[in-house]
């Protein structure tokens, strides 16, 4: 087993374990902390894929901005622990589990059929692609229209969030 495979397996274990712990904790703050651990593990996985810019953005935007917002709202609402999480398996949960197994099997079947012996190693220019220089150049030339629409989405989100969270319309 090479060093790369070892790094991948450790990171995969951390991310899967933290994801499972996230959906099984009754306290929302603990869920948020396990989600942050998951995001950090994913960010290092992006580095192993030589996507440096995406790795930094993952830490800045997800682990930084979005999770701070989550924790802020959880603290603001002062939520109690969710009850009935460790109850006996009711019919709804059993059905949910069945559905997830079905989704997993369906996608795994499609993957197994489509890439049996392709994509065994990264492309030669993968390091070049991940650099912020390359991404910035593409972002401001070919992808300039989606980039500008992004600013529109953010403006609409800001206005919408303020309007929704406001106490009353004047």
């Amino acid at each position: 087993m090479t060093a790369q495979a070892l790094v991948f397996l450790v990171l995969a274990f951390i991310s899967i374990a933290s994801a499972i712990l996230m959906i099984t904790r009754a306290n929302p703050v603990k869920s948020a902390i396990f989600l942050i651990i998951n995001f950090l593990a994913l960010s290092i996985l992006y580095l192993t894929l030589s996507a440096q810019f995406i790795a930094i953005i993952q830490v800045l935007v997800y682990a930084g901005a979005i999770m701070v917002l989550f924790v802020f709202v959880i603290m603001l609402l002062n939520l109690q622990d969710e009850k009935k999480l460790s109850d006996k398996l009711d019919l709804r949960r059993l059905f949910a589990l069945l559905l997830v197994v079905f989704v997993f099997a369906e996608i795994a079947f499609g993957l197994g059929k489509s890439l049996d012996s392709r994509f065994l190693r990264q492309a030669e220019n993968s390091v070049e692609i991940g650099k912020i220089e390359f991404i910035g150049e593409k972002l401001f030339s070919i992808y300039i229209l989606p980039f500008e629409i992004t600013s529109l989405i953010l403006i609409v989100a800001i206005v919408g969030a303020i309007t929704l969270a406001k106490r009353k319309f004047e």
Binding site: I23, P28, N38, L45, S50, I54, V100, I107, I129, T150
Partner: protein, 100 residues
């Protein structure tokens, strides 16, 4: 060098965990977190494809997915706050005004 299928399998496992979380949890905020987990698993698959095929489209898509995720979280949490102000709960079983 590890093959792309390992990354895709990890992405699939994380996506399935996210779906399971959305289906079994009743707290609206935790459901939002599970949606974030699913978005991240798809991001991992996109970056993997981008790096193994050797073009930049996957990483551009991840960039825009992150922007949309940030907008979605801010609006979604504002909705949660508005609901909590009216009903004093974020349990989605008790928010049943639109159910019939």
């Amino acid at each position: 060098m590890i093959p792309l299928s390992w990354y895709l399998l990890l992405s699939l496992i994380l996506f399935a965990i996210g779906v399971l979380g959305v289906l079994i949890r009743r707290n609206a905020i935790v459901i939002f977190m599970c949606i974030e987990l699913m978005l991240n698993s798809v991001n991992l698959a996109l970056v993997g494809f981008s790096s193994y095929i050797g073009n930049e489209i996957g990483q551009m898509l991840v960039f825009f997915v992150m922007v949309v995720a940030a907008a979605e979280v801010s609006v979604g949490l504002a909705i949660v706050i508005a609901i909590f102000r009216n009903r004093l709960t974020v349990n989605i079983d008790e928010i049943n005004l639109l159910k019939w």
